[in-house]
């Protein structure tokens, strides 16, 4: 499998981790909110992209590499993670947790996959594949019409004791997907701190082999990494517990195409022998 890197002309950042700094425009939005003049979802998102340097980052870099720590809070389970992404739609991530081994997942522009130490390898389908596509594409960062059929301001709502702009997102269904039946899995909500402007959380329904699962993600402790702010703590809250990710580093290296090759087991499953994926690579 050979991946051509010449077309990786832009960074694909992590969807929904939009490091939003408060700026004059957002301050205006805050004031507008106080008088019931709430900005549009598009305005909140666009201003956030500009204010944080994310749009500039997307235009100047092709890849992002992150690493950090992971902890299943209260259970004594700790480990590390690393994540690589590259435009337009490549992703690889590995989480290592003590006693559990390494879980790897990725998307090569066509195939979304998981190699789990206990479940084995499998290729994603349906809503799980759609969600993987979303997290791998720059459209999901920019919230473009190419990826979302709905980007809608829902108003002001309290999230984690913060007053936030609530934005509803509905991703476009992929080929072969029942649009109506998959609506819940294509819908997510983002919460932008009214006062500070940061994205501070999301609520969504995750598609998994074990069924659909409601998930709340809480973002915080934004820090600057070479001109772009990222939330360095991300806590996943579910009925079974809290999983905390802490980003220690974020870098913007040249694209390493080998990172995104399908593992041998996934190639055996899909029957692919050569590089697949985005046509413009």
């Amino acid at each position: 499998m050979k991946i051509r890197t010449r077309s990786f002309f832009l960074l694909v950042a992590l969807p929904c981790l939009l490091p939003v700094a408060a700026d004059a425009a957002l301050q205006e939005a805050v004031e507008a909110a106080a008088v019931d003049a709430i900005p549009s979802a598009r305005e909140v998102i666009d201003r956030a992209l500009e204010a944080t340097g994310m749009r500039a980052r997307l235009e100047s870099d092709k890849a992002v590499q992150m690493s950090g720590r992971v902890e299943f809070e209260g259970m004594g389970l700790e480990g590390s993670f690393e994540r690589y992404s590259a435009r337009p739609n490549l992703l690889y991530m590995r989480v290592s947790l003590s006693g559990m081994g390494d879980v790897e997942t990725g998307y090569d522009g066509k195939t979304g996959w998981v190699v789990h130490p206990m479940l084995g390898p499998y290729a994603m389908e349906g809503a799980e594949l759609l969600q993987m596509q979303l997290q791998a594409t720059e459209e999901s960062v920019l919230k473009t019409p190419a990826a979302f059929e709905v980007v809608e301001m829902m108003g002001v709502e309290t999230f984690e004791e913060r007053s936030c702009f609530k934005v509803k997102l509905v991703a476009k269904a992929i080929e072969g997907m029942d649009a109506e039946a998959s609506l819940a899995l294509r819908t997510s909500y983002e919460f932008y701190d009214v006062e500070a402007g940061y994205l501070v959380g999301t609520r969504s329904t995750a598609a998994t082999p074990m069924g659909d699962s409601e998930v709340t993600l809480v973002l915080g402790d934004y820090k600057d990494f070479e001109g772009t702010k990222w939330p360095t703590t991300m806590v996943q809250k579910m009925p079974m517990g809290r999983l905390k990710f802490t980003i220690d580093s974020a870098q913007y290296p040249a694209v390493d195409g080998d990172r995104f090759q399908l593992p041998e087991a996934i190639r055996a499953l899909t029957g692919e022998t050569e590089a697949s994926g985005s046509e413009d690579r």
Partner: protein, 445 residues
């Protein structure tokens, strides 16, 4: 990244939820303040209040129980006294997977000693039947084997403690059923038998002729792999696979493993790869007390071409399915067809938690035939939470219901064919459940 983490946490939690029994180590007593005692009790009470899958708390008035026990907590002046009250609180639920793991037993507290403290054993297994602790298996070459101990012998005394005197106090105190009492007595014996390497223990057996026999055996390294998982005490994992020829001319494979944890994955996968050409596979889950629930899905996948539901884990306000995930690639990364032949599962009262999810789930899916004796009936998926005093609370978050609607908690997996373990069979060197399973597989086309 959000979406990635969404799905990943689900995978992790599916894997990380514990379906196993923890055997707490003996704890050193420590005095504690009223404030620490109350804070620890309140945290334990609140965690269960917020996370128990049953908002009726299995019929217990949870609010009233707090009011009832708080005075005892305030009066507690030692960890032992507090643990007694907490044990009372957890025991009132009458459900599995509610337990207190003393901080001294947590790997984080024990450091490098965590493994060494329980690394020694005497090389034999036990089952409790009709008021007697029977030697059910002897490790070849181990201390017991070298001393002539034989399956079917009765272990009547350990370091001067008479086993027959345990039954009434343990059973009466907890109102235990037969299976639970058998497990409690067996675990109490194991708690004495396992320990530091080199220590000698005085044991009294009754041999095949019922003659008493006193032996002094020194602990040696267990034939097992030590494995840590979060705040749980160290597990000692055993794996065995072998080929079995049958009088019919057919040949079968047998896989036995003690827990569902990561170090067992590769040996199981490789064993199944070796057995793909066999006429049937036996999964012996006797003595398997559970582990990480997600592993049952990957193991089940060796026997299904399509995803199949084993059951549902019912949480408060949500649920998560246990799915057989087809294993279409072998350990060498080559495309394969999952095993299509007959599969037999062996269970008894020592088969617990994740093993029951697997056995009951596969049984309800119609993929296996189960032989032996009814399993433990202790199957609630759980997690641990560290309390203010450093103890770890194991608490169930969900109930498990098989795909045909059977709740296994308190019931257990009922074998399709009940084969009772007897002392006579042990003395004769027979494994009646295995023999019957092989006969059944031999009869299959």
């Amino acid at each position: 990244m959000k979406m990635t983490l969404d799905r990943w946490i689900a995978l992790w939690i599916g894997a990380a939820l514990l379906s196993c029994h923890a055997t707490p180590a003996e704890a050193e007593p420590r005095e504690l303040s009223e404030a620490e005692a109350v804070a620890t009790f309140e945290e334990a009470w609140q965690v269960i209040h917020e996370t128990h899958f049953d908002t009726e708390f299995n019929g217990v008035d949870w609010e009233a129980l707090r009011v009832e026990l708080l005075p005892e907590v305030r009066a507690a002046r030692s960890e032992a006294e507090l643990r007694r009250v907490l044990g009372d609180m957890l025991g009132r639920l009458g459900q599995s997977h509610f337990a207190l793991i003393p901080r001294q037993a947590r790997p984080a507290e024990q450091g490098d000693d965590a493994v060494e403290r329980r690394a020694g054993g005497l090389g034999f297994d036990l089952r409790y039947r009709e008021g007697q602790l029977l030697v059910s298996r002897v490790d070849p070459g181990g201390p017991a084997h070298r001393a002539g101990v034989h399956p079917g012998w009765i272990l009547s005394e350990i370091e001067g403690q008479r086993v027959e005197e345990w039954k009434d106090p343990l059973g009466a105190a907890k109102g235990l059923g037969e299976r639970a009492l058998a497990n409690r007595i067996r675990r109490r014996a194991e708690g004495l038998l396992y320990g530091s390497l080199g220590e000698e223990l005085e044991l009294t057996f009754q041999d095949a002729s019922d003659d008493p026999l006193q032996l002094t055996l020194a602990r040696e390294q267990r034939q097992a792999v030590a494995h840590s998982f979060g705040d749980l005490p160290t597990f000692y994992l055993r794996f065995e696979s072998r080929d079995l020829d049958h009088a019919s001319g057919k040949s079968f494979g047998l896989i036995h493993f003690s827990n569902w944890f990561l170090p067992m994955v590769k040996p199981i996968d490789e064993a199944i790869d070796r057995m793909r050409g066999r006429d049937g596979i036996v999964l012996d889950l006797r003595g398997n007390s559970g582990g990480a629930g997600a592993m049952t899905m990957g193991t089940a996948g060796h026997f299904f071409e399509q995803r199949a539901e084993l059951g549902v884990q019912e949480l408060r306000g949500s649920e998560m399915k246990f799915m057989a995930m087809p294993r279409l690639v072998n350990a060498s990364g080559q495309r394969v067809t999952p095993f299509q032949g007959p599969v037999a599962v062996l269970v008894d009262e020592t088969t617990g938690s994740a093993s029951e999810i697997f056995a009951g789930g596969m049984q309800s899916a119609g993929r296996v035939r189960v032989f032996g004796e009814t399993s433990a009936g202790a199957v609630l998926p759980a997690r641990t939470t560290v309390l203010p005093n450093g103890d770890s609370l194991l608490h169930a978050l969900g109930d498990f219901v098989t795909s045909d609607g059977t709740r296994l908690e308190g019931r257990g997996v009922v074998p399709d064919e009940e084969i009772v373990l007897t002392r006579a069979d042990l003395l004769a060197g027979r494994d009646a459940a295995l023999e019957r399973a092989l006969d059944w597989m031999a009869s299959q086309p």
